[in-house]
Amino acid sequence: MALLSLQGVTKSFGGLTAVKNLTFDVEAGAIISLIGPNGAGKSTVFNLITGIYMPSSGSIVFDEHAIEGLKPHSVAARGILRTFQNIRLFSHMTVLENVLVGRHARMRSAAWDCAFRTPFAQKEERSSDAAAMELLEWIGLSRFATEWARNLPYGMQRRLEIARALASEPKLLLLDEPAAGTNPAEKIGLMKLVQSIRDRGVTVLLIEHDMKLVMGISDYVHVLDYGEEIAHGKPDAVRHDQRVIEAYLGKGA
């Protein structure tokens, strides 16, 4: 049984069909990429999986439960976290606090516990702080823990977004163009990072335009164009697929 399974998912906005009859599986432990030209519907797929959009038809099954129609915060609590193409950190919080917000879904203390500082809440806040620091250490940002998130350089903000998502111990991590705007050195670091995320036991679904990155780390690639899947397969097979080349470069290329 796949970790995530989309069955015939369609999403229309009025007359526009952004995603059409999309079916694919994400096996646990894999790095899967979703590629396609701009406007192909990749971001819509992320919004469908995370509960921002409700599919017009079709089903989304995660960890053996149907998740379509769940609120985004419930989807996150079940273990699907994402990063954003245009970084959306909580810029008025410190680096550590951003990661702690990511811990939210894993924390059990109720508002009552927070208000009265029950021993349970205190213990949980402490263990959460420790887990967040450990994660920052792992991703190489621990010395910036008390900096404002907005003061970090761009590449580090991208890493911080990933740390924030990992803080909730997701089963599936959705990365939305993590390499956008990063320099070549950072890109190599990012590739290693994505692989070590998988080694932590987190499955990765990736939207990315950088083909070197996609071909370098993906186990399997799905190609979208105008909301429909036009090809899928191992990176090498997809790279030479005639329809993929046409979608990117136009017919006759």
Partner: protein
């Protein structure tokens, strides 16, 4: 000229009165600023929740045979219990207001919830007018009151209580917002609601808690104002609400520390103006500050400098 001469010896005295009044404004201003921070709504009904706090306290006190109790400790505990009950009930009312009046309008153009807030304010004022009538109601002065003299300055237990209660509330709130899971959820929701929900934060319940806390603080303010002034009136919240709103804007709306600072500044300016010039000028001074802030520093004293929007 003689006014300035007259004013000097009273300066410290007015400062103390101003701090007490400021604590009251700060408590109310916190509710404005927290709600604005999280859903960008100026909740004009907030001042009326404050009045409701004093009315609720009054009704609870009416159930207790205060005249038969003389032990000051018991009376103190009664005061504490009434504060907590008023805070809880006002908090619940705040949550109901959000649920019934504002939630559906969360994604509507901003004018819609603003007008709704004015409507809620009118509804509350009319309910309170029917409840206690349209004249001032006296508030039982059941706590023993002693005057203290330090140097040439006199103050009584009542002003001391206002200052202590408001400071304790502010310290607790600060701790809550900056060091607990729910506080972080509030700040995250205030900064980016969509990102917050994708990180697993239940935005609806976080907003409801924000209303609860803001309204509970207004409930506390309602009780202590009743004790401080000895009377309450169904339209009290209108004036006090506007002044607290001014305090929130002065401090930088959306900023918690700013609301506290703004509350004290407005309170001190108001008492200084009435003490040194005349009562009639105090409101002119307060609202002139509102206008000057909006014209010259719309982000307020602490706006956009301290990263702690809620």
């Amino acid at each position: 000229m003689f006014e300035i001469h007259n004013c000097a010896p009273q300066f410290i005295q007015q400062l103390i009165n101003g701090v007490a009044l400021g604590g009251l404004y700060a408590l109310i201003a916190l509710g404005y600023t927290m709600v604005y921070g999280i859903i960008e709504l100026i909740n004009f009904a907030h001042g009326d929740v404050y009045t409701l706090g004093s009315f609720i306290s009054l009704s609870i006190l009416g159930l207790i045979p205060l005249a038969t109790i003389s032990n000051p400790t018991v009376l103190g505990l009664i005061a504490l219990a009434v504060i907590i009950l008023a805070a809880l009930l006002c908090g619940i009312i705040g949550v109901l207001i959000e649920r019934l009046a504002y939630r559906r309008l969360r994604n509507a153009p901003r004018l819609a919830p603003l007008i709704t807030a004015i409507g809620v304010s009118l509804i509350l004022e009319n309910i309170m007018q029917i409840w206690k009538g349209n004249s001032e109601v006296s508030f039982p002065q059941f706590l023993p009151d002693h005057w203290h003299q330090i140097g040439g300055v006199r103050f009584d237990d009542r002003s001391l209580m206002v200052v202590v209660v408001s400071l304790v509330c502010m310290i607790l709130l600060n701790f809550f917002v900056f060091h607990t899971k729910l506080g972080k959820a509030m700040r995250a929701t205030a900064q980016d609601r969509d990102a917050a929900q994708l990180m697993g934060i239940n935005v609806n319940s976080t907003i409801a808690w924000t209303f609860f806390i803001g309204s509970a603080l207004a409930g506390v303010a309602g009780f202590i104002s009743g004790m401080y002034y000895g009377t309450t009136f169904f339209l009290n919240g209108y004036q006090a609400g506007l002044k607290a709103f001014t305090a929130a804007v002065l401090g930088g709306i959306g900023n918690i520390t700013g609301a506290m600072l703004g509350g004290f500044v407005i309170g001190i300016i108001e008492t200084m103006t009435s003490g040194c010039i005349s009562d009639q000028w105090s409101e002119v001074a307060v609202f002139a500050i509102l206008i000057l802030t909006l014209v010259f520093r719309p982000s307020g004293l602490l706006g956009q400098q301290l990263p702690e929007k809620v």
